[in-house]
Structure formats: C-alpha cells, structure tokens
C-alpha cells in the first residue's frame, strides 16, 4: 500500500525553480533516505509533503489525501505525517513532557492523564524517561533530538519526515539519535529521511534517492545505489563524500 505519492511536483521561489518535476512513491513501512548536495531541493521536497512549503504545482497524496486539494484538512494530514527538524525546534518554554503532550492534548483532545501516560511511554522509548521535568535548554543536542522524535510520534503518525536530523549535532551525539531511528524503522514505521549519514542510508534504508538540480537523479536499493551508481552526478557526489 502506498503511503505517499508525489506526482510531478514543482516548487519555485519567485523566478527560481528549485523542484523541477519530481515523482516519488513511498510504500507503507518503507524507509527512504534522500541524499544530495546542499541546495539540491531535497529538504524542500520533504517540507512539501506536510505543506510547510506550498508546492507551486503537482500533487502530493499522503495516506489517500491530496494536500493540494483545498478540501483537505492540512492539520489532519500533519497529524498523520510527523516531522523532525534539523534544529530540533523544541518549545523552550515547556518541559520535555509538555513538549511531547501538547499535540495529544490540544489536537487529539486527550485527557491530561492519558496524554501524560502516552508522553512518558514515548520518552521511555527514546531513552529519556528521567528527563520529563527538564527544560530543553538543559539537554544535550542528542537528547533534544530524541525528545523531538518522541514529540513527532505523539500523534501516532503513519509516517515521519526527518529533515537532516543529525546535521546540527556534535559527532559523538549522532549515534544515539540514529539508534532511535533504527529502532523505529525496525518497528515498521514509514520514514522519509533527508540525511548526509551515508552509513545509516546504507544500513537502514529500503531505498536511497539522490536529488540534484531539483530532480531525482537516481532511485535504487542501497546496495546498488552505493556500489554501482549509474548516474554520473551521483558518482561524482559519492566520490566527493568518500574523500572525507
């Protein structure tokens, strides 16, 4: 069953066209990693899926609902497609637990007791059960991103969109976040991950996609993607990444 279907997506900022016609299907339970040079449009594609960016044209169907259809309740779509940001974007004025329970309380209208119970179970899942009363400021980057993952799970979404979730982290903190993401993948969560973590893409992804110059240049299983890339731009890109 397909979870996300992107059809002929275009996105322009004034005269500048950044997405030049992208088609992409993502099946339920699939983990898709999107890689590409900065400015290639990969984050834009991700942010179009829950309409944080409004596509210029095309269609994006998320769990059967076209986000371009004016009849679609975009707030509902966003509860089905959680998002994790590069800069975490935790709410600094709320405790860790309140960050995670805000959605259940205000969007799902859950009772405080139920929301707290759900929030605690999610914090336990990301290994931060003991931090519920802390404020985001008191956490390390890795801990913050794990709270953000718990928050994105709080509405029990069908898919999670990760926008470079480890790019703002100190190198030694990347592992703990990737570990949580691996666990989610194992549990069958549908995940779309914009990332520079080639190791993660190779080990965890079902498919890896290379976006450059606003189009998909290659879409393949990780093994073939990394060991025998067909696209010339991808070969160059992997060559440059490997040098480091």
């Amino acid at each position: 069953m397909e979870m996300i279907n992107i059809v002929n997506l275009h996105k322009s900022y004034d005269q500048l066209e950044v997405i030049k016609g992208i088609d992409l299907e993502i099946k339920s339970g699939e983990v898709v990693c999107i890689i590409g040079p900065s400015g290639s449009g990969k984050s834009t594609v991700l942010r179009c899926i829950n309409r944080l960016e409004t596509p210029t044209s095309g269609h994006i169907i998320v769990d059967g609902k076209d986000i371009m259809d004016p009849e679609t309740d975009i707030n509902h779509v966003r509860t089905e497609a959680g998002m994790v940001f590069q800069q975490f974007n935790l709410f600094p004025h709320m405790t860790v637990l309140d960050n995670v329970t805000l959605g259940p309380l205000k969007v799902r209208k859950m009772s405080k007791t139920d929301a707290d119970e759900l929030g605690r179970s999610l914090l336990k899942k990301v290994g931060l059960a003991d931090k519920e009363k802390n404020y985001p400021e008191q956490l390390s980057g890795g801990q913050k991103q794990r709270v953000a993952i718990a928050r994105s799970l709080s509405l029990q979404p069908k898919v999670i969109l990760f926008d470079e979730p480890t790019s703002a982290l100190d190198p030694e903190l990347v592992g703990e976040v990737l570990e949580v993401m691996k666990q989610l993948a194992k549990e069958g969560m549908t995940m779309v991950v914009v990332t520079h973590e080639m190791g993660f893409a190779r080990d965890v992804a079902d498919r890896v996609i290379f976006i450059d110059q606003g189009v998909i240049q290659e879409d393949n299983a990780p093994e073939a993607f990394f060991s025998s890339p067909k696209n010339k731009r991808l070969q160059d890109f992997l060559g440059k990444v490997a040098e480091h």
């Binding site: 829950n50 944080l52 707030n75 509902h76 966003r78 509860t79 959680g82 998002m83 940001f85 800069q87 974007n89 935790l90 709410f91 600094p92 004025h93 805000l102 959605g103 205000k106 969007v107 009363k133 404020y135 400021e137 008191q138 928050r151 994105s152 709080s154 509405l155």
Partner: protein
Amino acid sequence: MEFQFDWPVFFETIPMLMRGLKFTIIIALGGLGVGFFLGAFFGLMKLARHAVPRTLAIIYIEAIRGTPMLVQAMFLYYGLPMALGLRIPPLTAGIIIIAVNSGAYIAEIVRGSVQSIDPGQIEAGRSIGLTRGQTMLYITWPQAFKRMIPPLGNQFIISLKDTSLLMVIGVGELLRTGQEIVAVSYKAFEVYLAVAVVYLAMTLSIAQGLRMLENHLEMKTKR
C-alpha cells in the same frame, strides 16, 4: 532675598499629594490595562495576512505615534464634544487617552516580539497539527510575552509620567494637586520637588517589579 529650603512644607506636602496620586494610579492602571489589550490586538493585526486589518493597524499606530499626546488629550476632551455633543468626564477621558496612546506603542512592542520568535517554532507547532491560532496561543505568544516585558516596562514608566499631561483637561492627578498646593502656599520649590519624588518612587518600584518578574520567568525555564 535668601532662599531657604522649608523642610516642614516638603514633608507636609507629601501626604497632601495622596489624593492626586490616587487618580494618577487609577488612570495609569486603567489606561495601561486597556492599552495592553489594544496593543496586543493591533500588534497582531499588523501581522495579519490580509491587507485590510494590517492597514487599519498601521493607520492607528502612525496617527497616534505621530501626534503629541497633549494634542490628543485636548482634541478628545475639548474638540470631540463639539462634534458629538457630549462631554466625557475628565477621569474617563484621561483613561481613554492613556489607553489609546500607550496602545499604539505597545502594538509595536507586541509586533516586534512576536516577529522575533524563530519561525522554526511555528513550523514545529504546525507540524504536530496545531492550527494557526493554537500555535499563536501555546507557542508563539508565551515566548514573545517574555521578550515583551522589558520594553513593556519602559512603556509603563513613560505612560505613568505622561499622566501628568492630563492636568490640562482638569484631571485632579498628582501634578495638578501639586499645582493647587503651590497656589496657596507659594512654596513651588518644595512642592514640585515632593511631586517629583513621588513620581520617582513609583517609576523605581515599577522597574524593580519588572526585574523580579523577569528573574522569576528566567528561573522557571532553568529549574
């Protein structure tokens, strides 16, 4: 003639000023209370997506900031009754003027503070399915409010001092009470100094209160 500071007059004046002080406080609290709501309302209107509310907010803010408060007071108290045929009591007029005047400045404080919040916060709110209004209420506003406190404190102090201008429309506030005492005692130096000391005591208290409020809010996120 040699000037001699008359301490007894100075000390006797202070309790006599309390009647005026009462009006000053009523006008400042009432005016700023209403002014805060006006400011929040027009400040958010200036951030609206549609041009009509935005333009209305700009007209209000520019008209008030661009004219002296003294002129606004004279216009409301002496000018407007000519057109409307009804006279507004001085105290009510005073509260309206402080409210409308401070509201324009507070609107800019509110707009600036709301705009200073990281757009990523709003995206995070929307990404968990909150509506625009819920995102403002639970995420943007509480963070923006914290940033508003220092400039709001400034505005409170300015508006408190501005209540002295209301003596021109016959409000029996602090300065006018002082003036009345001078009229019978001729001790202008002692009396106006006493008036100044009372204003200073109030503005320093506000400044201190704000510092404590800021520290309290700061502590809350650093427990």
